[in-house]
């Protein structure tokens, strides 16, 4: 039963990072049994706010009250002991530990006798917890480092739920998930709220939050723009509140027919990754956007890796008919054939976070920048980076800024710009808009449409159906490792028809 009485209150919270006013006088009230969405563009202060509530950082001024009592957590552990648990961007899993140890670390005493931990008992308990929350899709014998980003999030969520908190904070968790796992998390959220608990969901997926939440708070430039009832608003209204102006029409493609060139630029023949996907064959044409959709076990993300020749060794052929070397055997062959690949896991497999923007942008083009195949002029590198930053409107203090200091959206702009400023023939994008706000998303779609017009072929692997429907010429729906259906834009895409095939 949802009682609706106040569980957490924030009063005039302020947080500064140098001259940036990340949280500006934020006052909010969260009620029991409420699912509250917090949305805002990258850099609007959402994650800063959640990290203050979670005890990961302290507010410069302001007060918080939990159940009417002053609440000022010194650490995430302190927050947990006060009944506030979280799955946030900054935290993660401990890669060298198994899943049970990840779930129970800090609480391993219950399995300990004379200081010796009964790992078998812990493993069974971990399995029980994962199944209890409907998240038992992982093998508990695995090390966390061997898990996909999706399954890592499931482990983190189980850990957060296990302490039975009063308030659960989920910071951009669902965007890492495929549709089936997303549905599992939605169920967990609903069940949790039904127990008169509070869930705070921070997300960039406006459509999702309007459907999922009871109330939505919109932040802009560190300030609260407003809190609205989800039942009384629309995604477009929320987007307008976020960016401070009305959206100028649809940011997806508007034409109903597919358009593409005549030449095949990438041909995949009978590509098989045993146990993941079988006999995948297709051709990608110049100027075509070909989307791949599927559930978490469909193999769409692994397909992207296999085409780019990373990950486990696959069978079958990847051909680039227009390139000098026809058959692709390594990522270098793809790059030389004018191809590129963007991983779903941007921070781990995409960008060099410690390095500056300049280095990240220059690396894929270093061969072109090297004079006589060896010498690279720093001036050329700087120019290349500055051009990319200007073209892609990357918000940064300069090209020397480390990429780790950028917001998610600007990181993705750097990630995209370093490839799209090259003379590309095709690009494989795995979840290109994961973790970016609506403004950056709009920008990325615009960039992709421009790339398409230039004749660049695009493989778009996505967990977001509106994105595939909005942008693709063709959608290949995968089910359990095979292409179950190919739908053309001219046939008319609908979410229902795609989901029907996916499940």
């Amino acid at each position: 039963m949802r009682t609706g009485d106040c569980v957490l209150k924030l009063r005039n919270i302020n947080k500064f990072f140098a001259s940036t006013h990340a949280n500006n006088n934020i006052s909010l009230t969260f009620n029991r049994g409420e699912v509250r969405g917090i949305v805002g563009e990258n850099g609007s202060g959402k994650s800063t706010l959640s990290s203050i509530i979670c005890g990961m950082q302290k507010a410069d001024s302001g007060e918080m009250f939990k159940d009417g009592k002053p609440y000022a957590p010194k650490s995430p552990l302190d927050a947990i002991s006060n009944g506030i648990s979280m799955v946030v961007q900054e935290l993660g899993v401990l890669t060298q530990l198994t899943i049970p140890l990840n779930i129970f670390i800090g609480r391993e005493k219950q399995f300990s006798k004379f200081g010796i931990i009964n790992t078998r008992k812990m493993k069974k308990a971990a399995q029980r917890e994962l199944e209890k929350f409907g998240l038992g899709v992982v093998d508990v014998d695995d090390y966390a480092g061997d898990l996909s980003i999706e399954h890592r999030k499931m482990v983190e969520l189980t850990k957060a739920l296990m302490v039975d908190p009063d308030v659960l904070i989920l910071d951009e968790i669902t965007q890492a998930l495929s549709r089936d796992n997303r549905d599992r998390v939605h169920k967990v959220i609903h069940d949790f709220a039904e127990k008169n608990k509070t869930v705070i969901v921070i997300t960039h997926d406006i459509e999702e939050i309007v459907e999922l939440a009871d109330t939505i708070t919109v932040l802009r430039d560190g300030q609260v723009v407003g809190t609205v009832k989800a039942s009384e608003t629309t995604p477009d209204k929320i987007k307008s509140m976020m960016i401070g102006r009305d959206l100028t029409g649809n940011y997806y493609r508007t034409e109903e027919e597919e358009t593409r060139g005549e030449n095949v630029i990438l041909s995949v023949k009978d590509l098989t990754l045993p146990g993941v996907f079988n006999d995948v064959s297709f051709d990608l044409y110049e100027g075509e956007i070909l989307a791949f959709c599927g559930l978490s076990d469909a193999g769409i993300h692994e397909l992207g890796e296999a085409i780019y020749k990373i990950g486990d060794k696959s069978q079958g052929k990847v051909l680039t008919p227009l390139a000098q070397k026809k058959e692709v055997e390594s990522p270098i062959d793809i790059i030389r054939a004018g191809g590129a690949y963007l991983s779903k896991d941007r921070d781990v497999a995409g960008l060099m976070l410690q390095a500056d923007i300049k280095t990240n942008i220059a690396i894929p083009s270093i061969r072109d920048l090297a004079k006589g195949g060896l010498f690279v002029k720093p001036k050329d590198v700087r120019k290349k980076a500055q051009d990319a930053v200007d073209t892609f409107e990357v918000k940064c203090t300069g090209i020397e800024q480390p990429v780790m200091r950028l917001s998610g959206g600007n990181k993705q702009k750097v990630n995209l710009s370093r490839w799209l400023t090259r003379d590309l023939k095709f690009i494989i994008l795995d979840c290109p808009t994961r973790g970016v706000d609506i403004g950056v998303k709009e920008y990325i779609y615009h960039v992709l449409a421009e790339a398409k017009d230039k004749g660049i072929g695009i493989i778009m692997i996505t967990d977001e159906l509106p994105e595939a429907i909005g942008m693709a010429d063709r959608i290949m729906v995968m089910h359990k490792g095979t292409i179950a259906k190919t739908i053309h834009r001219s046939e008319g895409f609908t979410e229902e028809s795609i989901i029907e095939v996916m499940i």
Partner: protein
């Protein structure tokens, strides 16, 4: 990523491990048999096997100790210097203070603990990168022992105390083997089944995440240093009891004392998909010593060429360990 299959009799990871172990030991046996044939049956003689295991005792116990320090991400290059200094301190306690075996054990182990705590403090409290701190500490400890040696020589004594036969109990084979087995069991339990090992591994994975999950960073590092130092101290006692003396060295030459153990730790990491870390250290130590032994028997000069082979083995193990891994770290 494998999904759980309740109908499966054996967990997939365990199955993979058992197959890996079977393949590993099959290849090892094959190589041993070939070497045995090449050495006219001398390599697998009882006497030679005993020699190999004897040589593996020091490196394996030292490696057990190192694993408690390295697993938290602390690369301490001063462990060899600590072995040299602490074992000589043990001898001072045993002979100069007339404390006998208790003095030898206590002096060596206590010295190791103090020195290891200093190293941990430099890293944890002063935030000095561990490898830099390690090099600095190694130079200081080497110089300290060298000064001590110079002082003794000036006094008309030998450069270091030479252990007499009546004190060499820890250098005799039955005791050494027993110590190795006991140390293995204790290290195995501490590393895998206690908060000590789990917290250290958590810190090694990601220190800030581990702290957010309730791991006390400083306390864990200091406890790891103490536990590691106890093993290093025991290894030092065995080493000096076996050798009767450990001379002072300078110019970071002390690092050679820890090189075999370091190689065992690295090898254990490279085969950690097959063997648990502690078991991996034991297996690696024995394998490395048998490699050196075989090379000596085959007439390969000790020193340069044997080191080249050791380096090659480490590289090959690293490659083998990564076969089948995904190209993209997820």
């Amino acid at each position: 990523m494998n999904t759980a299959n309740p109908s499966a009799k054996m967990p997939p990871r365990l199955k993979r491990r058992l197959i890996g172990m079977a393949v590993f030991f099959a290849i090892l046996c094959l190589i041993y048999v070939v070497i045995n044939i090449m050495t006219d049956g001398k390599f697998l003689s009882a006497f030679n096997i005993k020699t190999i295991i004897t040589h593996a005792v020091f490196s394996s116990i030292l490696a057990f100790g190192m694993s408690f320090i390295f697993s938290a991400g602390i690369i301490d290059l001063s462990i060899g210097a600590k072995v040299l200094l602490a074992s000589n301190v043990g001898l001072i306690f045993a002979y100069d203070f007339n404390l006998g075996y208790p003095g030898l054990l206590l002096g060596t182990i206590l010295c190791c603990i103090i020195l290891q705590l200093i190293s941990a403090w430099l890293v944890v409290s002063l935030k000095i990168p561990s490898w830099i701190a390690g090099l600095g500490v190694a130079l200081v400890l080497e110089a300290t022992l060298a000064e001590y040696s110079t002082g003794r020589i000036k006094s008309g004594l030998t450069s270091v105390i030479n252990m007499t036969d009546d004190m060499r109990l820890f250098g005799t084979t039955p005791v050494m083997f027993t110590m190795m087995i006991v140390c293995f069991i204790v290290a195995y339990i501490l590393f895998n089944y206690t908060k000590i090992g789990i917290n250290l591994r958590a810190i090694g994975s990601n220190a800030s995440v581990a702290q957010a999950m309730g791991v006390n960073y400083k306390k864990s590092i200091f406890i790891g240093a103490i536990v590691g130092a106890i093993f290093i101290g025991i290894a030092s006692v065995i080493q000096i009891s076996y050798n009767t003396k450990l001379e002072a060295v300078t110019g970071l030459s002390s690092m050679s004392r820890m090189f075999n153990s370091l190689a065992a730790v690295l090898l254990a990491q490279s085969i950690n998909r097959i063997f648990n870390n502690t078991i991996g250290i034991l297996v690696s130590s024995v394998v490395l010593m048998s490699v050196f032994n075989a090379l000596t028997m085959l007439g390969v000069p000790s020193g340069t060429w044997q080191t080249v082979v050791l380096g090659a083995i480490i590289v090959i193990c690293g490659i083998l360990a990564n076969i089948g891994n995904k190209g993209v770290v997820k």
